[in-house]
Symmetry: C2
């Protein structure tokens, strides 16, 4: 067989996350005037912080139900699904909330080039400062 259908690249479907509605309800989106919290997207494989974007309740809902990351753009004031334009999709393995419910960590399988619109794997590719730290005793 040949034809256009066999040429189309196969984009895998996301897998919905099993989730705890009590913990969804424990989120506090009200601290920010726009109802947004920062979502730290971390590579599930090695823990690299890939990007920080923003979710409101609806973006979190879409993320849990689609198994791919949905964010809310503060500048464009619209929802966007990561990779829908670039192909650099993020498939979600886990979503965690913090102690006071105003931040999220999202563990993903990163597809495509990486998370950054520049083509870099992570948006955090530049170091402002560095030092030796102090190892814990």
């Amino acid at each position: 067989m040949s034809g256009t259908s066999s040429q189309a690249s196969a984009v895998p479907e996301g897998v919905a996350l099993s989730h705890d509605e009590d913990l969804v309800a424990a989120m506090d989106f009200g601290k920010d005037a726009d109802g947004l919290v920062p979502a730290v997207v971390q590579d599930a494989a090695d823990g690299t912080v890939l990007t920080v974007a923003y979710m409101d309740a609806e973006a979190l809902r879409r993320t849990l139900e689609s198994g791919r990351t949905w964010f809310y753009s503060r500048s464009r004031q619209e929802y966007w699904q990561k990779g829908e334009t670039s192909g650099d999709r993020q498939y979600v393995r886990e979503v965690r909330l913090d102690c006071d419910g105003d931040a999220l960590v999202v563990l993903v399988d990163q597809h495509g080039r990486g998370a950054c619109h520049t083509g870099a794997r992570t948006c955090f590719y530049r170091t402002i400062g560095s030092g030796p730290g102090v190892p814990a005793p």
Copy 2:
């Protein structure tokens, strides 16, 4: 010898970070009405995301110069140095900025119990949802 001086627990000094002023200037604190950006604090040893807090230009400056994390509290509207009350101090190894300069990653040596006011090692100790993800091809 004996006496109170030998009883005092030794709190190590932070070590100032060598840093790049051009990258400090590349930070864009203006997107947020309060001049704040989220700072993702990550354990330098194993990449665990410990907490998300907020920095403005002054908190970033204090962090770079002291080698310990300084944040700005949105609720209390004041600067605070992590661990100054609890003893759970964070000594900084590296500060990274993202592609558009509106978020930071801070790699630290976490001292004390951990980063969370609950006594947990990380503030992100609860999982809202989980699934298999889709491994990258």
